[in-house]
């Protein structure tokens, strides 16, 4: 009968006066009830004590940038649309402790937070919000890494859904295929009628609750009234945002002038992302004692609209507001599909209502991406093994200065997991009270050691290079996608890098030299600002002396170098490639350097018949969490820390080298 809803579950009727019984049952095990209630001239989700706290007879009026409470004569409890609070406040709170770190002398220790996830019951979850919980489940629990705080809250929560009985002009769940009908993800679904509620179970928990409530089987009239009510909501919303081909249409419009135009109106205040029920970007905040001996890490809500979100030591990948707006919109409606197999938007309309200047995403999308499909993009990259998420104290056993600002630390005593990285992977390295740094492994020292070559570029890296042998650091990893050494078997190899970029490539060079016969010709191009800025000078000398390795070093004039190579000052590695005589048609290239340098290198390599599918590059982004949960390192369809940092150039598509991605 209620075929629009969940065909499988029978419908029951609960009298209005008995709703309190349901809430009492939910509370039996000490569970806190979270539901809609009136506060600060809005209907928010907050802790409720009982039915009396629900917004009886209250409704809302919403429009772009506007929200107002209304009053009705009736006593209905759920006749309104989604308010400013989304359930992520409770499943993914704005500020939660995620770890504790201590430092005692040279020793460090890392421990889990002292948290016990609260037992919660959510009352009045709408269809679009159920869809949003599903979206966040895929992001935060889909792996390979997972957010344990989220898991604990989500697993224990009981979800009581409510079928929408009204809609706002900002609603577009119909277009996003997320509502208005509740389709799953709930334990119990309510449809409010004047006399009471139609209840349907969506889980064994829901069924168990139903069995203990004074319900009767719903009559045909009641079932029809409920179905009509929801159908009317669907009709009222219509289809405000045609989404056919939207993914491709949008990605084809990365150069639209509209991005700059919307940036003139956008306040980059981040409200849209904070009210969004699926946005999950976060940062780590550290709070500790005055001496940095004891610090708690907290995950806090962040936003891709914030100025520092995509900053790295050398600059800001998305310095302009138009870059940030494009990042947000294309992620929600396009690249989210590539990453997580669904849209990042559920059409709840909060970002429209709560934008202080009323920017309407639907309007922007229709203006930016009219119906012209673009070619599909290639599939995602290979999987890498998952390592434990906790930081493990590890001892520094040796330290060596490489250049004026760069040192190599040797760590020893790693267990099998932490020592078993691949060339190009990196470790997250942490000191209590400092943000962790993503550091590429510059050499593996089996069975239990690694070298980390670190340039002092900020306080955290400065603190790291200040450590002396005997001190400890926390490590997590190795993580990230490394250099695919195997694809070069039987082929020639071209390595192009500059400055500190040699560090992540050294394990690859080690691997090739260790099994030299497996590979063909080996050309290594290395540039630096001055000869003194070159890493691993002794080894360069040794490599230069080999006749099975063609080493070309380049530096700017002004300083001599003792490296006896074919080459010298004043010419760039790029021009050296242009002038080279080798043929690259059977070569694989590995490139590491600033994006502009890699672009120029790719052009030069193409001139040597090395096509983009045989070029591997490593991308730099702001790495906050290092495991693909915080959003900072996003680059188009990818999280650099999880999907990279090494990418096949052909996979990057037209996001490579584009400003503001």
């Amino acid at each position: 009968m209620l075929s629009l809803h969940a065909a499988s579950s029978p419908a029951f009727f609960l009298a209005r006066a008995d709703l309190g019984r349901l809430l009492d049952l939910l509370r039996e095990d000490g569970r806190r009830l979270i539901g809609p209630t009136v506060r600060d001239d809005a209907i928010v989700c907050d802790e409720i004590r009982g039915v009396a706290d629900l917004p009886a007879g209250r409704g809302d009026r919403q429009a772009p940038g506007r929200y107002a409470l209304t009053e009705r004569a009736d006593e209905r409890l759920f006749d309104f649309v989604v308010g400013p609070t989304s359930w992520k406040r409770f499943t993914y709170p704005p500020r939660v402790p995620i770890g504790r770190a201590r430092r005692e002398g040279g020793a460090v220790s890392f421990g889990p937070p002292e948290t016990d996830a609260p037992l919660l019951a959510f009352i009045g979850v709408r269809a679009c919000e159920l869809a949003a919980l599903g979206v966040q489940d895929r992001v935060l629990l889909g792996g390979p890494y997972t957010d344990e705080d989220y898991r604990a809250r989500r697993q224990t929560a009981i979800v009581v859904a409510v079928q929408c009985a009204t809609a706002a002009p900002t609603c577009f769940c119909t277009s996003m295929d997320s509502g208005p009908e509740v389709r799953g993800g709930h334990d119990l679904a309510l449809t409010e009628l004047d006399a009471g509620f139609i209840l349907e179970s969506g889980s064994p928990t829901g069924t168990a609750l139903l069995e203990r409530l004074p319900v009767t089987a719903a009559t045909v009239d009641q079932a029809v009234a409920a179905a009509q009510q929801t159908a009317a909501v669907r009709a009222r919303i219509g289809d405000p945002l045609p989404t056919a081909g939207l993914h491709d249409r949008l990605l084809a419009k990365l150069d639209s002038p509209r991005w700059a135009e919307v940036a003139e109106r956008c306040l980059s205040c981040a409200n849209c992302t904070l009210v969004c029920p699926t946005c999950f970007c976060s940062s780590i905040e550290r709070v500790g004692d005055l001496d940095g001996r004891d610090a708690e890490s907290r995950r806090i809500w962040d936003s891709c609209f914030n100025p520092g979100f995509a900053k790295v030591a050398g600059g800001n990948f998305r310095a302009r507001v138009q870059d940030r707006y494009r990042q947000w919109l294309t992620h929600k409606f396009a690249t989210w599909w590539d990453q997580f197999g669904s849209s990042g938007c559920v059409g709840c309309g909060r970002c429209i209502t709560w934008c202080p200047v009323g920017i309407d995403v639907r309007e922007e999308l229709l203006a930016i991406a009219p119906a012209v499909p673009a070619p599909p993009l290639p599939a995602a990259v290979e999987d890498v093994p998952v390592v434990p998420q906790e930081y493990v104290p590890t001892r520094v056993v040796d330290k060596r200065q490489e250049t004026g600002d760069t040192w190599t630390l040797t760590l020893a005593g790693l267990d099998d997991v932490h020592a078993a990285g691949r060339p190009g992977q990196f470790l997250m390295v942490a000191l209590p009270a400092f943000p962790p740094a993503a550091i590429s492994v510059s050499r593996y020292l089996p069975p239990d050691g690694v070298c980390l070559t670190i340039r002092s570029a900020g306080p955290a890296t400065t603190a790291l290079v200040g450590l002396e042998p005997g001190a400890e650091v926390g490590i997590r990893g190795p993580v990230g996608v490394g250099w695919p050494v195997d694809v070069a078997a039987g082929r020639d190899i071209v390595v192009v890098t500059g400055g500190s970029g040699l560090a992540p490539l050294r394990p690859l060079i080690d691997a090739v030299l260790a099994d030299r016969a497996r590979f063909g010709e080996f050309h290594l191009y290395y540039g630096a600002r001055t000869a003194a800025d070159m890493l691993f000078r002794d080894e360069l000398e040794a490599w230069a002396a080999r006749d099975d390795l063609d080493l070309v070093c380049r530096w700017l004039p002004g300083r001599g170098a003792s490296v006896t190579t074919s080459g010298g000052a004043a010419r760039s590695t790029v021009s050296a490639i242009h002038q080279a005589t080798w043929d690259g048609s059977n070569a694989v290239a590995f490139v590491c350097g600033p994006e502009r340098m890699m672009e120029a290198t790719a052009t030069a390599l193409a001139g040597k018949a090395i096509t983009p599918d045989r070029v591997y590059v490593t991308m730099e982004r702001h790495m906050e969490c290092g495991i693909g949960l915080c959003g900072h390192c996003q680059m188009g369809r990818f999280f650099v820390c999880k999907d990279g940092p090494v990418f096949q150039l052909s996979h990057l598509g037209d996001t490579f080298g584009r400003e503001g991605i």
């Binding site: 506060r39 600060d40 001239d41 809005a42 928010v44 907050d46 940038g65 506007r66 929200y67 107002a68 400013p84 609070t85 406040r89 704005p94 500020r95 135009e261 003139e264 109106r265 956008c266 306040l267 980059s268 205040c269 981040a270 409200n271 904070l274 009210v275 905040e285 550290r286 500790g288 004692d289 005055l290 001496d291 940095g292 806090i300 809500w301 962040d302 936003s303 914030n306 100025p307 520092g308 507001v321 209502t353 709560w354 934008c355 202080p356 200047v357 009323g358 309407d360 309007e363 009270a433 400092f434 900020g458 306080p459 955290a460 400065t462 603190a463 200040g466």
Partner: protein, 294 residues
């Protein structure tokens, strides 16, 4: 492990100000005695009779430069200080007294003092950074105690302080406050203002009046269009910007452009630092707001 060596020497110095920012240091009841074990506070006239003119490892400067003596003094302080940190809206943006920068100085002096010829002050009250290089700043009127502790902790252990440059809205939403502007309770400068205050005013049911000053990318023009489009008089919107950080761009230009010159009595009086009910966010206006389907 701090880069400043053991027990860095701190000086707390005041220019033109209300003393509230340096009082924040004395208000750190829980940390004060512990702090004095990590730092030597060698100059802090409000708290100690023992005085110093430098050198300082860290100099915390409160207040804006508004007399010829202060303009000289700040140069000397810069020479005496390894790190010069400005604290509060006066030091970082000129403060409320910078409202006189729009007015005729002689007239202002004469309006307040019977003998203006005895009053030696500069025609403008200006932020410290207009005079000397500044190594770090804590914003706010007054500064936030938590940010002060964070700064001192970071200096103590040699890391970068966590002083986010995002909008007040970030903390407002984390806090769970309902947006005062969208819910029709008044104009709010939160979207334009740098966070750090823990989003205080909206949590107390009033709009932000930007005491932490404009943040990076503060799009004041767009917010102005939205408010004027909603029916507010331009001068009333302009007076929103004529507060404690009025002299910082882009507020400074808008105060003038919108006809909200301090000291003049323009506007209807219906709006101000606190948004009055007559300001409703709403309509769109040409030039800023596009009509649907344009």
């Amino acid at each position: 492990m701090g880069a400043l060596g053991p027990k860095p020497r701190i000086g707390v110095i005041k220019m033109a100000s209300c003393d509230g920012c340096q009082l924040t240091l004395l208000d750190l009841e829980d940390e004060l005695l512990e702090l004095t074990e990590r730092f030597q506070i060698v100059e802090f006239a409000e708290a100690s009779s023992s005085r110093s003119t430098g050198p300082f490892d860290i100099c915390l400067v409160e207040g804006s430069i508004s007399t010829p003596e202060q303009a000289e003094q700040i140069q000397e302080l810069r020479r005496q200080s390894k790190l010069l940190v400005t604290i509060g809206a006066c030091a970082t943006a000129g403060g409320i007294q910078a409202l006189r920068n729009w007015q005729d100085h002689d007239e202002v002096r004469a309006a307040v003092y019977a003998h203006p010829e005895f009053i030696e002050s500069l025609a403008t009250a200006t932020p410290i950074r207009d005079h000397v290089a500044v190594d770090a700043e804590l914003r706010g009127c007054p500064i936030d105690a938590g940010q002060l502790v964070e700064l001192l902790t970071a200096l103590n252990i040699g890391r970068r302080p966590w002083l986010p440059d995002e909008a007040v809205c970030m903390e407002c939403k984390r806090r769970g406050t309902v947006c005062v502007m969208v819910s029709g309770r008044g104009a709010c400068l939160g979207p334009l203002t740098q966070t750090g205050c823990t989003a205080l005013c909206p949590a107390y049911d009033r709009g932000c009046f930007a005491c932490f000053g404009p943040r990076e990318n503060a799009n004041a023009a767009s917010l102005t269009c939205w408010l004027v489009g909603g029916g507010a008089a331009p001068a009333d919107v302009g007076r929103l910007f004529a507060g404690f950080t009025a002299y910082a761009e882009p507020f400074r230009s808008l105060v003038t452009e919108l006809g909200a010159t301090p000291g003049a009595t323009n506007g209807t009086g219906s709006a101000g630092i606190v948004g009055a009910p007559s300001i409703r966010s709403g309509a769109r206006i040409a030039g800023c707001m596009r009509e649907p389907g344009d």
